[in-house]
Symmetry: C2
Subunit: 424 residues, 2 copies
């Protein structure tokens, strides 16, 4: 049967690009970026646009109580759970045109391609637009998928407030995207999220498609080193308790620790010194430490090394220290069957691949806790994202969409076959 | 003759302390500090107070065109240049009760003591209150003594504006302290400035009096290191250009360079990182480097080492750098005869001493370019100054004033003797 074999379908690269450029005007900024904060009027407009496109394809749209949108296309067989595609349409205040948007619009393009070809999968297909992935208006990030997965309570979500005091719940009501479905009532059997890499690896290596193996675990710490603020001219070197000198050793040490563990990253990105005056020795320095690795075991080792590093640096300079964990996210390992389908899909489509770990968080992390899930990465220029200059070329977007199509068809075929075998 | 030998005069410690506490109420703050910015109404009040005290002693007060106040007590012999004492009565916005004020009021106490004893020096004595030492309202610091010494032009001084746009010149006119004497017309033959150390050395070593040898030369640089801002999660360690890592190596290196040169200090006190976000690798870091040493030769060596340090740190991390000198002050070497008088005076008064170099700038630096000059330091608790908690004990203030008295008498005696010998 046609439905159980890979097809020679090809997505329409121009149609995909036109949709990307059309939606980029909703909240578009003069510098070529998008400022489309979650639950804003522009978010309502792009949601209305998406709903209209789904209606045109005859999909069934369901919106849940936190605004997550699920558009379903029936499959050929009864009783199979849906295979989902999607990502998010909200952006950072200084967002680009591809982060999140590509994953939704490529899913739409897959459905349009299947529709145009009259191709029906065994399982239903589903297009998902998650609410508030970015978290820049309402913290935390990935809130819609988090509530959907049961990580957060709906009331917790509703009460999140932006800087002007508007809440998530009131904003959702205001734009008319509070659906009737309970969060989590709509489930699927698997999820494929296409996304730009937001890192430099694929571009640097000239690879077209990243086969994403999982998402790094992440641990954040706040470190405060306290010494004595004193006059830079009249305080001899041996009488100083220079908090910035201690922090310099921590910065160097974090870099050394991360480099000693393959696939690890470690960074101090935020740093504040006090009193921050040309002629005063820094009395206090505060920083956040960001450690990431795909394995919690390695993260435990790194954390122990950071503990020791901080203790030693503080002691050597005569400082006191306070090191507190402020955030922790467990690593996510994606589903091997989903990964196999991405690999097979990329091969069928003729694209070069490499295995890759996501360094950034994604809705797929929450989805993976509920259903077999994986991601597909395409390059972005210079690894740049959350920036108006974010750039992925039309051919790169098309490659991602084509692999998404092939992966979904492969997964659909293999899952239905295995079910058939199991039933036989 | 009585005038040519050291006398057993003792300053009145209580009278000195009372004057310190009385003037501390002029611009006094609830936390025990003083906010008496230069050329403010409070500065006028404290100047009026000083003038009244000098009048009561029968001194001749001359104010020059930039508000510097010179009160003269005649000597016994004709034709000798005056021996000056003094400092400044203006304070920082969050100033303490001793920085500058002690030097003026101790000079006043010396004159009161001589007056009460009916003691006449060979040379005239002079009490000086310099305008705008602090520089916190009108930049640069030490402006009054600087114009007096010919380092700055009077018109330059008049045009200096504070944050509200008021100029130095207009403010001077407003408080009525623009005198008729040309800046620099009033000269003296030597100058002794008593000051709190503003550093921790004397207190830490339990020494009562610092015999100041000079003032460190100072060079300030602005350093900008530029790498690439990128996502902390998705940018592998080997693909980073982390500007903060480069700066950490510069911070460590500055400390190492300063420690390698005896009497040197080197500090980064101001540091700003961009974009300063938890999950972004710092793309740019800006800092100021402060190098000080009593010798320009050593400062040249240190500067060359810093150049090399910055180049190496930037290159190793793949950064670009910009290193610019933003300020330079030559070292000041105080006059050996003045220093000898301080040493002799402290010995006569029975106080412990150590040689010390001033790490902070003082009016004495400008005075030293015109006439033999030195300074006397007394301890301040924890080395703290420019702070309401600035603290020097009554006994420490009295020790400084007594040594000032003895040093001035010693210098007067030795100078008149040598003139007599030269004339013989």
């Amino acid at each position: 049967m046609k439905e159980t074999t890979m097809s020679n379908l090809t997505i329409d690269a121009e149609r995909l690009w036109d949709s990307l450029m059309e939606t980029a005007r909703i909240g578009g900024t003069p510098d070529g970026g998008i400022a489309r904060l979650t639950l804003s009027d522009d978010d309502r407009r792009v949601r209305d646009w998406l709903r209209a496109q789904c209606d045109a394809l005859g999909l069934t749209m369901t919106v849940d109580e936190v605004g997550n949108m699920f558009a379903t296309r029936p499959g050929a067989r009864e009783g199979l759970p849906a295979i989902a595609m999607g990502s998010h349409l909200d952006t950072q205040p200084t967002g680009g045109k591809f982060d999140g948007v590509l994953g939704v619009l490529a899913g739409l393009e897959v459905l349009r391609t299947l529709d145009a070809a009259g191709y029906r999968t065994e399982a239903p297909l589903m297009l998902v637009n998650w609410t508030n992935e970015e978290g820049s208006r309402f913290s935390p990030a990935m809130l819609g998928s988090g509530i959907w997965a049961g990580v957060y309570d709906r009331n917790y979500g509703d009460a999140r407030a932006d800087v002007s005091g508007d809440t998530f719940g009131a904003s959702l009501d205001r734009i008319g995207y509070r659906g009737e479905a309970k969060a989590g009532a709509i489930r699927f059997g698997a999820m494929f999220e296409l996304h730009i890499e937001q890192g430099p690896i694929l571009e640097a290596e000239g690879i077209e498609v990243g086969v994403v193996q999982g998402i790094q675990g992440m641990r954040w710490f706040e470190l405060t080193l306290t010494g004595t603020a004193a006059h830079t001219g009249s305080t001899p070197m041996h009488m100083r308790r220079n908090a910035l000198l201690g922090m310099a050793r921590v910065i160097e040490g974090i870099d050394r620790i991360a480099k000693a563990h393959p696939d690890a990253v470690g960074t101090i990105g935020f740093l504040e010194i006090s009193p921050n005056s040309h002629n005063v020795i820094p009395g206090e320095v505060r920083a956040t430490i960001d450690l990431r690795h795909p394995s919690d075991v390695v993260l435990d080792q790194m954390q122990a090394q950071v503990d020791e590093l901080v203790r030693n640096a503080a002691e050597a300079v005569g400082l006191t220290h306070r090191l507190e964990q402020i955030s922790r996210t467990a690593p996510v390992v994606f589903d091997p069957e989903c990964i196999a389908s991405v690999r097979a899909g990329a091969k069928a489509a003729g694209y070069s691949t490499r295995d890759i770990i996501s360094g950034a968080g994604h809705d797929a992390a929450h989805a993976a806790a509920v259903a077999p899930t994986t991601m597909i990465f395409v390059p972005c220029a210079g690894g740049l994202s959350h920036n108006p200059a974010e750039s992925t070329l039309p051919g790169e977007c098309a490659a991602g969409a084509q692999v998404l199509l092939e992966a979904v068809l492969d997964y659909d075929r293999r899952m239905s076959e295995s079910r058939r075998e199991a039933a036989a």
